[in-house]
Assembly symmetry: C2
Homo-oligomer: 300 residues x 2
């Protein structure tokens, strides 16, 4: 039996991810209704769902149950949505457009944006603790720890702080990489780590988990480099968010540091390193390989 | 052997709570330094530590190990500190003074306040997952779930949303109670629930856990009523935060709804109901009883 094409698989996971979040987030009819409405507005209705795709692709390596992957994917996506809501606020990037729609603080107000972001973070940890994701509860606690560490001051939030500090500065390539490893890389690694740990037919060894983590590091960085390239070459209407914003804000990017051609080249190299990390898994890592290709080939 | 007086016990826990947080939070020397500095500023250096006191007092009923209670107490206090940082921000209560010092967004800036609050929330779940708090990992996942549920849109953050919505409105006593049960009550209940679940010499039955939870509901509400009374009768310098702020903001309080004398009377009744919930525990609940007294007798 030949597996379904990547595009079919991807569309299927994107539909699943949307449906799972829709089911797991509190209904907008439940009090406080405006807060729940804002949480749903932030988390539903689009996005590429890269992190859920990574959860499912890593889950395939472990032979994991898709219902459990739904929970893990929703938790990671709640963290991602929370970070976007807070990152768009006036005291941060002050952005008005996200996925082609007004950002949460514009559509609602700043206080609701603050609380919706806070509550989406909380929801992530509630999901990881109230559903059974592995038959080994100690391993499930490890999943909570992985997502927490990736999201906090030494992960994503720390990367945002470094980013704020970098405005108007000239960074070295190493410093830019340090920022992105935290800001976007940490949660991408967590997505792969959680998918790989949802219990399934293959319990992965520590060595295998480390190989998947290495894949995630390279793929995460590739994703960021491509984002910088897209931000530079795509019009706002196509991008669904304000284009050229980083340059306008005098923020360092891979394009500003390396130039466009070299940034594209770097993305391709990182893609190769990501794929090389999967060499031991054979066919089980098909989706992870395809995702690395997808990340780099999105638009160029 | 007669137990140490309440005031000695309380001072000891307050010192422990400060020391544990100081040890568990990332050092201000670790990058991103300004973020870590702000997290420490927000969580250290004062406060009554009511939630850690409740964790330890409930832990005494379970005969729990104090090192494990340190972790649980720090997690709950991180949630509390996070909520204060975000609640003080300009888009929320816009307050400049907390515990007699400038609030985080005044001392640092709004972006750092946002990220420090976010990171303190994350830290709570990291603490509950990376340390061993019970020998039964499934029970520890339940502790994560309890704190997450208490903090999110159907707990504390939800209460803050209801509070925002209430400004300038006339609430009934039932509506005011609904708000406080979420805004402050949920995390107080979680503090008791976590302390009672840290494994110790007495594993508590579901009935006993429910009795402690009932105590926490009454004590939490009493705490809020007393807060409203103190906000009304205490000068700013003594209070350490801006006094009379709720009245000035046209926010409903127990005092505005009931008058001062009746609000005081209500606090005393709630204290009695809290203490009555402990009748089955005898001497093991000594500190919880004393805490109920302390909450109500703080200043009047």
């Amino acid at each position: 039996m030949s597996p379904e094409p990547f595009s079919t698989w991807m569309a299927g996971i994107q539909v699943r991810a949307e449906a799972a979040l829709g089911r797991l987030l509190p209904a907008a009819s439940i009090a406080p209704a405006r807060l729940h409405d804002a949480m749903r507005y932030a988390a539903l209705g689009g996005g590429k769902r890269v992190r859920p795709l990574l959860v499912f692709a890593a889950g395939e390596v472990a032979g994991a149950d898709v219902d459990r992957l739904d929970i893990a994917a929703s938790a990671v996506e709640c963290i991602h949505a929370f970070s976007l809501v807070h990152d768009d606020m006036p005291c941060m990037d002050d952005d008005v457009l996200r996925r082609g729609r007004p950002t949460v603080h514009v559509e609602y107000d700043e206080a609701i944006a603050l609380l919706a972001g806070d509550s989406l973070q909380t929801m992530a940890f509630q999901l990881l603790s109230e559903h059974r994701l592995t038959d080994d509860a100690r391993a499930q606690l490890e999943m909570v720890r992985i997502l927490a560490k990736a999201s906090g001051s030494r992960g994503m939030a720390g990367g945002q702080a470094i980013d704020l500090d970098a405005v108007g500065k000239t960074l070295t390539l190493a410093e830019l990489e340090f920022m992105h490893i935290h800001k976007t890389g940490a949660v991408i690694r967590a997505a792969v780590g959680l998918g790989a740990r949802c219990s399934g037919s293959n319990v992965l060894s520590d060595v295998e988990l480390a190989q998947l983590d290495q894949y995630a590091r390279y793929a995460g960085l590739a994703f960021q480099v491509v984002d910088d390239v897209l931000d530079c070459i795509t019009p706002t209407a196509t991008l669904g968010k304000t284009a050229g914003k980083d340059a306008a804000n005098n923020k360092p990017t891979y394009v500003s540091l390396l130039g466009l051609a070299q940034a594209k080249q770097m993305a391709k190299q990182l893609r190769q390193q990501a794929v090389d990390s999967l060499s031991g898994f054979g066919e089980r890592a098909r989706r992870l390989t395809e995702l690395a290709d997808f990340i780099v080939q999105r638009e160029f």
